[in-house]
Amino acid sequence: MEKLLLLTPLIPIFPLLAFVIIIFGANKNNKLSAWLAIGGIGLSTLTSWLVIAGTIMGGHHVQAEGWRLPIPWMPTGEIVFNMGVGVDGFTAAMLFMVPLVCLLIFIYASEYMEGDPRYARFFAYVSLFAFGMLTLVIADNLLLLFMAWEVMGLCSYLLIGFWFEKTSAKRAGLKAFLTTRIGDVLLFAGMLILYSYTRTLTFHELFKPETLEMLSGTMMWGIPVSALISLLVFGGAVGKSAQFPLHVWLPDAMEGPTPVSALIHAATMVSAGVYLVARMLPLFAIVPDGALRWVAIIGAITAFFGATIGIAQNDIKRVLAYSTISQLGYMMIALGLGGFLAGVFHLLTHAFFKALLFLGSGSIIHAVEHGAHHVNDHHTDPQDMMNMGGLYGRMKRTAWAYFFGTAALIGIFPLAGFWSKDEILAEAWLQWQEAGFMSLPFWAWLAGTLGAFLTALYMGRQIGLVFFGKPRTEAAAHAQEPGNRMTIPLLVLAFFAATLGFINVPFIKGGWLHHFAGEVHAASHALHLEAIPFQVSVAVVSSIVALGGFFLGWAMYRNLKAGQQDPLEKMLGPVFTVLKNKYYVDELYTAIFIKPTVKLATLCAKFDYDWVINPIVNTVGRIGVVSAIISAKFDEIVIDGLGVLGTARFFKWTGKELRLTQSGQVSNYLLTIALSSLTLVGMYLFFIRM
């Protein structure tokens, strides 16, 4: 058994090799590149299955305790960082999902991307991405996980901006990169603090009871270190998994090719954040009512608001993007309530049906585009649902696969989504029963159930708009079912979307997955690791809500005519506008962060360009004086004349100093770095002496 597990390090190697070979050798040959990528991930899939078999045969010992292969990285004195890999039940479950979904998507993409001038490069990038994701899953320590995390971030950037001729795609890539970077910095800070306290970043060493106790017992800035680290790590997950308030990048990420959306922004990479939180859950849970609470709150907010935005979008992929955000919120709810396995279960099922939906939308877009070419129409946006309609008759395979995916997503019995979403809601419901009305679990349950309704609503709307009624454009009327390489992955995914739920049906052995993956964190007592009994009431409520929502949406949009006003818009009025504009979060960010930064940068650039002491510095100073005078009038007692001068001086000084920072002069940057380091060294020496 252990011999099979020894294959683990090979899993990410194949896609990496594919990447290297494509980049350096095969990039002239499109077909070869695609086959290399598919072959690489195919080998990974096979290896993963062998490893999973090893894990199953290894029994409880391997599944719960994990098997590890430590590979020392550069030993520096006493510090030995590990590049080790490990397998346990949780990893094995992920290893079932990740390579399989990747493989199907690669096959799909080999047809979808045909005719693209950078076809080979696409496959190099996705191979690199697969390498990152697989490494992340098998990493047995935070350091390797973080490296893989960053590799994926890079791939995400490259792939979102893959069609960089489009300004919007270029910007979306940059936005995704920068937004997730905020989370990454937080995660990295968390890792640093963690390391400084524990001197290790390997999971199984971190989760030893004494280590966790030490972390929860030590205080830093008034809160337990474990909570602080957890929140920082969660910050990383918020960025990667597009949780509120860093969710803004995900919808824009739909500028990338559709297989990328399916692969990265639905099935795998965004779930890396959830994976991270699930992996680190014992740390979150060690302090009761600590960081976990925030995970649940953020999850609930995201689950609900993501779904509300989803109902007002017209772009087929954006609807799915908001759906993804919302579903990730569900996972966070589950984890935040301590339901480790509920979250993981939903992560697995979601990957399949969301990949299915995205690929389905991809083949719809492909078909509509094809139709548009057919009628020589170059203005119709092939992604806009308002331009579709009546596609059911033209593409039956895709439609049926899409129906399965939708049913799984909104939780129709007995498809995958039903079981996994139900478990999350049951978890919340049970805890609500314990904690009482208006408690956090209650709100989580409410958000989840309302979210489920909205999910069903927008999916019903989408199905109605896309597949039913009459074609609203010529392009839609001439749409054509794409070839086998695109439809067969859809059918395979549909199969899994339908059946994957059974690995954790509560009636079979009390949830098979629970025994397989659920005991990874058995050492941590704060988590709910036992299977949750099936809650009929929850299931009935959510089923009614889902069916109701779906038929409402379907009925409203089924026969929408071209040019007709959106029925929901008629009903909701200004609320719809707010939703359509995504609560103006992007605009808010623009107003709060981006514009001032741009302005500041522009100003600084101007300052520097002239270099002489600029009148604008004085203006800033004067503004400072004026604002100081105004504030002085507000509370004359606090701010006296000295304060005014101080404020003025402060602004003057800031203006003067800031212009140095953005000069574009390498030397200035270097000087800044040197001075900052010097200050840090000085502070360090000073405090050490103290």
Binding site: W73, M74, S667, L671, L678, L685
Partner: protein, 167 residues
Amino acid sequence: MEPFVFFIFSILTLGGALGVVTTKNLYYAALFLIMSFSGMAGYFVLLDAGFLAAVQIVVYVGAIAVLILFAIMLSRKVMTRNEPLLNRQWGLGLATAAIFFFVMLAVPLNVKWPLSNEVSSGNELVQLGLAFLGSYVIPFEVVSILLLVALIGAIILARDTSDVEVE
């Protein structure tokens, strides 16, 4: 005896370094740099690291210095102009460097290191070889990848895409 040798090598090293940063002629700066590198090789000999001394000369003097000289000759118009090489913030730079020196001086003057008086067995080369292929094997392989990447990057950057080039 050894302090005297140390002193000579210090003059070579630090004097060379000072020459690098003070001379106006970039070509001389490179020659001073070579002098400094050679002094450092002497340092390594004094530190019982004979192999490292040779590495210092082979890589720095034999390879990097040649690269730098080539680069200077490639961008020679700048070199022959003999205009001051200092930028506008040199005063601040000097102050920073000086402060850094005095702050860091606190370390050797105050810290008590856990010194050891053992004498190495003298088979440093075998130890190095075993370490490269043993505990440091991942960095060892990564170095080759790093060199590969550096070579590819540098060739792509340095190669002239236009064919008009006077020899």
